[in-house]
């Protein structure tokens, strides 16, 4: 690492980052053999989908109007009138679907292979929170379209939350922004869907990935254990 570059340009001087090391850290991690199987890498798909959803979501927010009288119309406007609106909305919709499915499969895989065990509890807990946040985003996003289905999904969702012991009525009133579903509900769902949950999800994804990288991916507990090339894994001994 005594490599000192003789010729350093403006960028190297003003932004003294060892790019080789960054690359090494980012894509150079040595992984055990079983990671070549796609179902061990399902955590990356929801992360990728999240990026797609942030991009398309920002674009959809340009035309979406969170008001009971306008919400459905604005969605129809995006789908039917705006150039490529149908395309972006489909990407957002199917991306969300894929994210929910893959994040669930990822959780099942981690559970089934016992990858959640000590010392990776923190990773598992943050993953569980990520799953909940994903469901929250799915629920709020589903409601924003404001079709009949959306309306009844809101009714059922807030109803379920309302059945929580002791704090239930508070939670459901807080979600609806009143005693019943009205204009404030849609506004709340929009802010929760487009501002609060994505930021929390983003921070938690970063945390989740940092914890994974600190531990290294889990060793396989059954079956493929013997195929792992010794010394290649950074996992615990």
């Amino acid at each position: 690492m005594e490599e000192v570059k003789k010729e350093t340009g403006w960028i190297d001087k003003s932004l003294p980052v060892d790019w080789g090391k960054v690359k090494e850290e980012a894509i150079g991690e040595i992984l055990p053999q079983h990671m070549k199987l796609w179902w061990y890498c399902l955590g990356g798909v929801p992360a990728l989908m999240f990026m797609l959803l942030v991009g398309t979501g920002m674009l959809l927010a340009f035309y979406y109007v969170p008001h009971p009288d306008k919400a459905y119309e604005s969605v129809a406007h995006i789908t039917n009138d705006i150039p490529y609106g149908w395309w972006l909305r489909s990407l957002h919709r199917w991306g969300a679907e894929i994210m929910v499915v893959t994040v669930s499969l990822h959780a099942i895989r981690v559970f089934a292979t016992g990858a959640y065990r000590h010392p990776r509890e923190v990773c598992w807990i943050s993953g569980a929170l990520l799953l909940l946040l994903t469901f929250g985003l799915g629920f709020t996003g589903y409601s924003l379209v404001y079709t009949q289905q959306s309306y009844w999904a809101m009714t059922i969702g807030t109803g379920i939350a309302g059945k929580t012991p002791i704090i239930g009525s508070f939670i459901s009133r807080f979600m609806m922004g009143g005693e019943a579903i009205g204009p404030d509900t849609l506004n709340r769902f929009f802010i929760i869907h487009a501002a609060i949950l994505p930021v929390l999800l983003f921070l938690l994804i970063i945390f989740h990935i940092i914890v994974i990288r600190l531990h290294g991916v889990a060793e396989h507990v059954v079956g493929m254990q013997r195929e792992i090339v010794r010394g290649l894994s950074r996992g615990d001994e």
Partner: protein
């Protein structure tokens, strides 16, 4: 480990080259298409200007050499002119600094008094400071009736 890496990067195999090319093309293609479509999505749709033919009068009311003022759909003054050969309609706004031009029937030209600008009977700038011809309206004559195409308001 570093040595090994340098070797592989120097001796790029055909397989790696093809894989890298395919991946780069795929990435650039999909992201590029996404970027283009996103921009198209955001750019507001231009309303196509619609023109309507508005009846401005009869040929008998506009003898050769005469002109008549009218107001277009945007509230701007304009002139309907019979230059002897055909009926034409021009904006009264001088293309130099926006003064009102006058029609001089005897010379068959438009004159801008502010800075001595001259336009011929076809609206072309022929003398003085005006940089381009007068703005023209499309005129059609049907059964001696004069119609001027005006922007729909």
């Amino acid at each position: 480990m570093d040595e090994k890496k340098e070797k592989t990067s120097e001796e790029l195999s055909r397989r790696d080259f093809l894989a890298n090319t395919a991946m780069t093309l795929g990435l650039v293609g999909s992201l590029g298409a996404g970027a283009v479509y996103s921009v198209k999505y955001l750019v507001p749709a231009k309303k196509k200007a619609k023109f309507i033919d508005v009846l401005m009068g009869n040929l008998k009311e506009l003898p050769a050499g005469s002109a008549r003022e009218f107001i277009d759909g945007q509230g701007k003054k304009a002139l309907l002119v019979n230059n002897g050969q055909e009926i034409k309609a021009f904006s009264k706004i001088c293309t130099h600094l926006g003064c009102e031009v006058e029609w001089h029937a005897e010379k068959k030209e438009f004159y801008c008094p502010c800075h001595e600008g001259f336009f011929d009977a076809n609206g072309k700038n022929i003398a003085g400071p005006p940089p381009r011809p007068l703005d023209e309206y499309k005129v059609t004559v049907k059964d001696d009736n004069i119609f001027v195409a005006l922007k729909e308001v």
